[in-house]
């Protein structure tokens, strides 16, 4: 499969703290990539740089043939890179239906500016209802987003990212704040939706079972660097990963920090 998204020598530092150090990675179309690493390892920073929320100190990000490093989130979204958020970013006073309608409306009125000119089939209203259907949110259709339970908010947050027809979808900890028994259900739903639209997915995840089960490939972050990259099985067995990311990572990790 061809590389659709490529990061070239990304660096990012906040003052003394290094959040990204010489990150080089290419992502193939239709692949599903897990980003793992302890807190502060640079996963979210990577997502934020790809989606334009943060500008890298150096290096570039290429989408298709285009350098999107200087672009704003809006422009990047219009090119087809979409994201969900660790803390769901919803329109709290609007109903679930309206939340999605905003997104669908943007696409509908976006015109040729959209990379994917092909409109949603049917009227915006129908489209929204079908999305609600797919994410099993129909029951919450007319409830204000602010009043929904956390798990539902996460789901709606992801659904909204899907509503603007992405080619690449970045999910920031989709299952955080979701109860253990709901996690797989949620991921199944997302993956189904993703497959239906052939979207490339990168998602940040702490739960290794989720990673194992849904990804083709895993990137392990540690202190802003990618310390392992490959098949889930391989990466999760990697010694460094085991030390700094999974399992007994914590204590050792802290030791390393202290050494700095």
């Amino acid at each position: 499969m061809a590389i659709v998204l490529e990061a070239r020598g990304l660096n990012k530092s906040f003052g003394a703290v290094t959040a990204a150090e010489d990150i080089n990675v290419g992502v193939e179309g239709d692949s599903i990539v897990g980003l793992i690493g302890s807190n502060g390892a640079g996963k979210t920073t990577f997502v934020n740089m790809v989606t334009g929320y943060l500008k890298p100190s150096s290096g570039s990000i290429v989408f298709g043939a285009r350098d999107i490093t200087p672009l704003a989130p809006r422009q990047i979204t219009r090119l087809g890179i979409c994201r969900s958020f660790q803390v769901p970013q919803l329109f709290n006073t609007l109903s679930a239906y309206e939340n999605l309608l905003v997104g669908v409306g943007i696409v509908a009125s976006g015109g040729s500016k959209w990379a994917d000119a092909s409109r949603h089939a049917g009227t915006p209203g129908e489209t929204v209802d079908s999305i609600l259907e797919r994410f099993n949110l129909t029951g919450y259709r007319d409830k204000p987003a602010g009043a929904l339970p956390e798990g539902v908010r996460k789901l709606l947050d992801i659904a909204m990212a899907m509503a603007v027809k992405p080619k690449i979808l970045l999910l920031d900890e989709p299952t955080s704040g979701v109860s253990a028994d709901e996690k797989f259900e949620l991921m199944d739903m997302v993956m189904e939706a993703v497959r239906a639209q052939q979207v490339t997915v990168l998602f940040v995840e702490h739960d290794m079972d989720i990673v194992n089960r849904y990804t083709h490939r895993v990137l392990a972050f540690y202190e802003g660097r990618i310390i392992a990259d490959g098949e889930p099985g391989v990466v999760l067995d990697d010694a460094e990963v085991r030390r700094y990311v999974t399992g007994e990572a914590r204590a050792a990790g802290r030791g390393k920090h202290a050494a700095h």
Binding site: T51, A72, P73, R74, T77, R78, C82, R83, Q89, L90, F91, N92, T93, L94, E98, L101, V102, G103, G105, I106, V107, A108, S109, G110, W114, P124, M160, A161, A163, V164
Partner: protein, 313 residues
Amino acid sequence: MKRDLTVSILIGALIVLLLAGPLLPRWAMFLINVSLCYGLVVLGMMLLMRTGLVSFGHGLYYCLGAYAAGTLDVLFGISDIAVMLLAAIAATGAVSTLLALLLRKYRDIFFAMLSLAFSMILYGLLVKTSALGSSDGFNVAAKTLFGVRIAGTEFERYLIFAITVVTAFVAAICIHWYRGSHRGRLAEAIRDNELRVEYMGASVANTVHINYVMSAVLAGLGGALAAISVGHIDPEMAYWTTSGEFVFVAILAGTGNVLAPFLGAFIFETIRSFAYEYSPNTWQMALGISMLIVIMFLPGGLWSLFTRMRKTA
């Protein structure tokens, strides 16, 4: 469903007002007339508020519209209502388009105060301009409508009233339609979460800009019509207390529906005028208390009364 209802109410109101106008006592007709002028400005405020912005300086456009209409006569001897309204639209449209380049970056209290600063600067400029009567302002007399003389005729008042009614109606319909549109819906999305709007590929800045200009033009129309109806304009229209009143009415009315601003303006004008009449010494207190009551018991503004009643029906 709701949309249809609003539209039919609007059409009903249009017809009733146009028919009832001549039958009403003249003071009542004028009260409604002034309320509609106010309502137009408040409609603009509502548009901004739905975008999450409150301006303490909307008097700027109220006043600008009025002076654009009024100075036509002073400078070029033009006093045709149609031209006056167009002038108001042009002037407020142009100024707001420029100021929005700056203001669209501002939010909350800073947006409010920067708007206030601009309106106070206009106030200052007008007070300095003795050619335009300084703080006394000057009288405005609309003589013709599309070239047809109306000044001094029997139905002059009614014509002006009718023009105001029709303008208000058209404005309300347009805004109502706009609210239902995709871009219109963006307003509330921006109020709730600008970041997400950007991450869904829409430009917050442009939407704010467009809404700001629209609300400015509405305020300008309101000002021009007020100038024509009242027959006198002065810089007071740009003073911060005037703007404060618009905010007051907008909150009183609620942003639930395009009918709310006009209703709110009418209720406000009525309360104020009767307070003037029955308690000339304590009308401010009367206003303050009614305002507190609305804020406490009707957080959604007076309009929420109707929505709640419809829910129960």
